[in-house]
Symmetry: C2
Subunit: 528 residues, 2 copies
Amino acid sequence: MSNPASSLEEAPPQETPLQAKWTYEPAGTRHLGIIDLGSNTARLVIFGYVPGQYFRIEDVVRERVRLSEGMGESGVLRAEPIKRALATLKLFKLHCDTEGVADIICVATAATRDAENGASFLARVQAETGLTPRILSGEEEAYYGYLAAVNSLTFGDGVVIDIGGGSVEITQVAERRLLRGQSLPLGAVRLTERFLKSDPVKKGEFNALVDYLRAQLGQVEGLGGAALVGMGGTIRALAKMDRASQNRPDHLHGHRLTRATVDRLVDQVRALPVARRSNLTGLSADRADVILGGAVGLQTIMALGGFDACTVSNQGIREGLFYERFLAPADPPLLDDIREFGVQNVMRLYGGNRGHFQRTRDLALSLFDQLTELHGYGQFERDVLGAAAWLHDVGVSVDYWEHHLHSAYIILNVPLPGWSPREIALIALLARNHRKGGISLEGLEGALEAGDADRVEQLASLLRLAEYLERGKTGVVEAVRVHQGSDWVQIEALTNGDASIEIWEANRNADLFHKAFARTVEIVEGVA
Amino acid sequence: MSNPASSLEEAPPQETPLQAKWTYEPAGTRHLGIIDLGSNTARLVIFGYVPGQYFRIEDVVRERVRLSEGMGESGVLRAEPIKRALATLKLFKLHCDTEGVADIICVATAATRDAENGASFLARVQAETGLTPRILSGEEEAYYGYLAAVNSLTFGDGVVIDIGGGSVEITQVAERRLLRGQSLPLGAVRLTERFLKSDPVKKGEFNALVDYLRAQLGQVEGLGGAALVGMGGTIRALAKMDRASQNRPDHLHGHRLTRATVDRLVDQVRALPVARRSNLTGLSADRADVILGGAVGLQTIMALGGFDACTVSNQGIREGLFYERFLAPADPPLLDDIREFGVQNVMRLYGGNRGHFQRTRDLALSLFDQLTELHGYGQFERDVLGAAAWLHDVGVSVDYWEHHLHSAYIILNVPLPGWSPREIALIALLARNHRKGGISLEGLEGALEAGDADRVEQLASLLRLAEYLERGKTGVVEAVRVHQGSDWVQIEALTNGDASIEIWEANRNADLFHKAFARTVEIVEGVA
């Protein structure tokens, strides 16, 4: 007798490379490869996306090409770096071919831009790899960094900087629009090769670097403002070092690097010979030699601009190039509401019954609104509750059993740009506690603030009631009307059919509400 | 200017309910709802599946109908339980309708089977809900429980028991085939109503129950063997109570309930009045009154059969019914290799580049095989390494960044039937450590045995090398040939093209191998 299970290893018929992947993406997902040949590293990022609706990073390959090595002030790309770059780009192209990604954007930045043999290098790239790279001008580099920042962080006014291997881009932003962007040849590799020739760094070399940066950056107009956002390898490395020392579980993206921290890290790195720097947690051997050049650049910008902190963006020109495609034909290509988009993006990946989540959310927010006098919360808590209503079942994808735990893990780890670590912890805790039993804070106390245990309890009790009123996922409870007495609450469930089980279950599980609000609660049936 | 992002909330055109779910399932996934109307609880489970290849539980709704309440020995279903059952089944049907699940299997077991008004009850079910329930005979109940057990646990010989509310099924299994299955009217609700009428339970009542069970179960032929597998609500509850007291992180499925534990739990529950029993962690209020009747049944079977332990199955007749459909037309519907199926099943959900995983696995296992004299490991370790090669990137679904951590979480939490807690911890640790840096054991030491830290280090070093040799995901390294000296190892990478980057990266990241095996290692190019 044939057992279908014995054919497990056979691929479905007529498979293309993409079909060979049993994927879990939404239907109609497209794929785009973005290759960025920088002065220090070359990166390939493969995005899966549905235009305007959903996207995810599927794969990243990063190689330390150090294309600008040995350029000095000559403006000439040297033979060995060119050889490495060509081998890397061939690998990236072959990788895309193997994965069935035909749509590729390839850009080259400072080193290639400034090289007198840049054009011939790119001609070789085209001939030997089939890729057609586009050189980004300094202003374009600044533009794409800006796009990434404004589409992934909630700030509207300030300065965006990108410290790369060859160049530094500085962009002024007002009301989320780009005012002015420029590129300066002050990248980490370039400065290291020019100024920091000894190992360990000599005091005189260091001072010469500082003076040079002050002079160059001092000429930048409008260097100041409400917020400083930083991206690029140097800044990501500094953030990793900071997070490692604090043992923080939160995301790199959105991390705040204070001025005091940057000063401390500069002093720490400066005192060590290169070989010992990579002992510092968060600093890879790849970057240990050049980080000082970049870090002093950041330090100088913060001092000149009067910035107390730099918010780190994990997204950079690759994401900027992606957003341009993703939101086309919008101009400028800006997401209206990055926080809402982030939540919807996660939901689109994890799927499930969207109607149920919508109805649960509507009921929960209705309870929230009608009970405002009782809880006294505002928009902050309402946003958290709404997001939790959308996301509380994403963990079913791991396993139905204990899915509240899996949902909490996913919420804590999935990209949710624009939400603070505290908000993400609260949303995760509402998901963790949406089913039954007492409240657990899951070891997340470090991300919370005073009063948040009560917040979790009260908001979770509303989410729980909403969830039970939607137990059958049929929409039988269309709305809720809240009545209050001195020490009691009555919730009228307005139904369009027989909701006896929903109401019975809601009453049976009203204990958390009772504990959270110190009110007895009765859920009764009404007619919609 | 129009911004596509503003149309986020709009559903794609021409949506059916299923398309309304932006799902992450493999293309061609079907959906099946299975409704099980037991004597104690009624359950709806919705499966998503691709026949023979992949499946997942998408949703579960459980209601405590207590259909057999008040039946006594009358054989008559009473009015209130019937009313509850009809309301519940209507909710289940409406739930399936709302989710677009048209394919429904509905079965009824002991209470309905034994009732003189069972047929008229089912006629009402059909008339009022549209469901067409099928009464399972005792032998069929035993058969489906057996199917679930042999398709989800690695045992070939022994006894499978299912302790439900109305009946207990006992099945003898030899070489994974069903020898003999029967159903006895000894379910937890039935015995409680007949024997345990006082609260707290009187000594005389308890002894009468024990004597009755010994007499009834003593008549069962062939009650003994290599393994005892148990399923059903009572056994799951006992396992939850045991796990809670040990603070164990591992899965319910596959949990071993020792005889000493069962005896202890019986004594513990017996001493408490019903109202205080649900203070015991793991015991829900729903079950507190009837658990003793079921637990004494398990205790008696273990004593009569000479079983030291009972392995808990989280899967039961619902999964058995599902496997019959899933593996059709196979007869009997048995998975060939449940461990391999489990791994493939997880991979099919999480997708990714299957060819890359296959090649990484082939390289890792080739290194393992060629280095056997050096590490001295066997099939156990080889299986763990192979599974880790398949699953190490599942975490990319959560976020590309830090995906090794997400992979470890998923592996620890996703259903992987047939793998022991120690194996799952080892696989998760290989995924956790497949990229770079030193070995982390992630707080999983409790699941490991002596020597496992070395195992993780050595196996992870092989996985890491294989991963780097597949860095471009292009298959350029087709095979590896290992040469050994007294204190060195040379790995010849047999390539079909330019693998300079793969080999360079492998050499750069060979430090873990060096540490793990106390050998220097060089990776060189050869021609395939």
